[in-house]
Symmetry: C2
Subunit: 413 residues, 2 copies
Amino acid sequence: MSQSSIIFEDLDPPKRLLMGPGPVDVYPSVLEALSKPMLGQFDPQFTEYMNQVMVLFRQVFRTENEWTLLIDGTSRAAIEACLVSMIEPGDRVLVPRFGRFGFLLSEISKRCGAEVITLDAEWGTVFEPDQIADALKSHAPKYVTMVHGDTSTTMAQPLEEIGPLCREAGTILHIDACATLGGNPLEVDDWQLDVVTAGLQKCMSGPPGSAPTTFNDRVAEIVSNRKHIEAGIRPDGFENADGPCISSNYFDLSMLMDYWSPSRLNHHTEATSMLYAARECARVILSEGLEQVFKRHRSVNAALRAGLEAMELKLFGEAKYRMANVTGVVIPDGVDGEAVRRDMLNDFGIEIGTSFGPLHGKIWRIGSMGHVCRQEHVLRCLDTLTTVLQRNGASTPSHVGVDTAENCFGADK
Amino acid sequence: MSQSSIIFEDLDPPKRLLMGPGPVDVYPSVLEALSKPMLGQFDPQFTEYMNQVMVLFRQVFRTENEWTLLIDGTSRAAIEACLVSMIEPGDRVLVPRFGRFGFLLSEISKRCGAEVITLDAEWGTVFEPDQIADALKSHAPKYVTMVHGDTSTTMAQPLEEIGPLCREAGTILHIDACATLGGNPLEVDDWQLDVVTAGLQKCMSGPPGSAPTTFNDRVAEIVSNRKHIEAGIRPDGFENADGPCISSNYFDLSMLMDYWSPSRLNHHTEATSMLYAARECARVILSEGLEQVFKRHRSVNAALRAGLEAMELKLFGEAKYRMANVTGVVIPDGVDGEAVRRDMLNDFGIEIGTSFGPLHGKIWRIGSMGHVCRQEHVLRCLDTLTTVLQRNGASTPSHVGVDTAENCFGADK
């Protein structure tokens, strides 16, 4: 060992129970997948794994879309890849926002040079289809981009009617399903969603850093019309050498399509370990069965909520629009929300979430998703929260949270 | 299990010996690090790991730069993050190119809206400092971006004199050190390199998908002047709400600086497992000692080359500019280069590399780097290559490749 180097201790993260809005604990078989040896990026076994990932995520997204692949980055990387590949400067983009991640979509659209029209719903609510229909009529946007489930408010926007409205208006619809995929029903084809981006670190229960993405032929056509091939690997006779160009190289979907299709034209080096993880996340969820996974998220989080309400805590937002996997809990008057979170984490190893912007300091966000979404974790969380609230001066009654949640599980069996 | 799901078999990648230009086999302790459990992104232990990563990579890059962090993507993601955060449309960028990855730099610069001036060296050579000095004088570029070691040609550009030339000209110098970091000497501060980007999957012997990056205060000032904060998390009173803006959100270095500094302003969710891997890669290399690591790469690859030449194979490019970790080998007349690669991989589990553009079908690229860079692998590769060449009709002499290389190792002991 070099004398002068500082190398710190061996990696040994403390065991947490992650019950915030994500990232969450990873399925054990996903951790195992992460530790498998590398393959070359054009090794036949590796390109076979890439193809399998496409097949697996078509099932998770419930789509026939050929273009179902991973973006190598966290979920906002996939959002940016899709928006920057589609939007030309001056294109009109409608962004209905009902939380912090809606702001992210308008922010990214603006950076892509779009003329951005925003529509704002009060945090804790969602949009009625009529509101979207009216905005489509008034503004005739080329694109609509919106969040499915916005963890900042814990609300999920029903999309069944939004897709057909956009299709009818000739508008391309992008949905950010990062926080809902794999835990809340999402029907890409049935709901006529043109392009959907997600992440692994929420209900998919994988590590952050790889972003499953699917888009249909309407989107593929738009990005293909903007296609550009790097001079260093450009085939002879390729025409659009100096034509219109997507402003990002890394996020250029037309090049990613070449990389993920049999032509296998070199682009980035696919993130091997993250692809292994993504593959395993999809396998775990499909093995359990999507409907069963949705049911588990719904019933486990319903028990959690019943327990929280029995503890005389108020839940945030409109009940019928709540995401299946995360709940906003109003911090009781006189309680220091950050002190409670600190005690939960430091003394009991349980992470619950804080919140952003107008809700900062007003609500906690408690999630139960993926591998974490099961009875024992809910009971442990409620029990600990009771103790910690009492120690922080709240008048929370003992036992009722756990008892109430446990009864829900009993009733569900 | 759901009846209708296709879930494929358990992940079980065949064991390869990766002796191409990268990705390469990963250090065993890095695979272990990848399988550790998640932490929340603002967990004190996780932010401590982020800080440790900064300290570790400052040592690997040999820099005092505060801004030494990871970009969550493959190495071209880091290139794009730095260029898009610095370049304003119309800025003049000089790109001296001596291989395929130089083309990538001009491609990305152009997409950022730069006025791109290219300077081309014949593949297999590099630039003389005078050529760069002349171009700096003629074009007065705001930025120079160039590759340190271009795996497409296996040449490494000496940089000791380029940095001071750029500094003197008032030009910001970006270096893509993806293929050299951790195996070839690289002195970020001593050589006056303003911004350097890399990857894990070459000499660092980690998985692709995380990109170590360092930049000095000159670069920090440029990107800070273009700073913009998302409306959803913008503090009251922040001024530049509608001012100049970096065209990417994901790659906005000014926001990444906030995320990687004590203010910890939320941006993306850091890729937990990849950060664990990056941390471990740096620890392994610093534990061995950088000078020892460089020496190992130099001597192991020298032995490989001696063996290849003893086998009557011709090496590509100017010998004195060769990268320490990868060698271009001219495919002998009458030998089907792809058939040899296929047999090496399918029959013997060894991957060697093909090549791009003008060199496609003309050279193989044989690497020995990171965990792969040791005697047993070189001997195994040479032995197998001898057998496979003979079986593919070449008149390669038996044994001399292995014997010659082994003598080199002996002499080195």
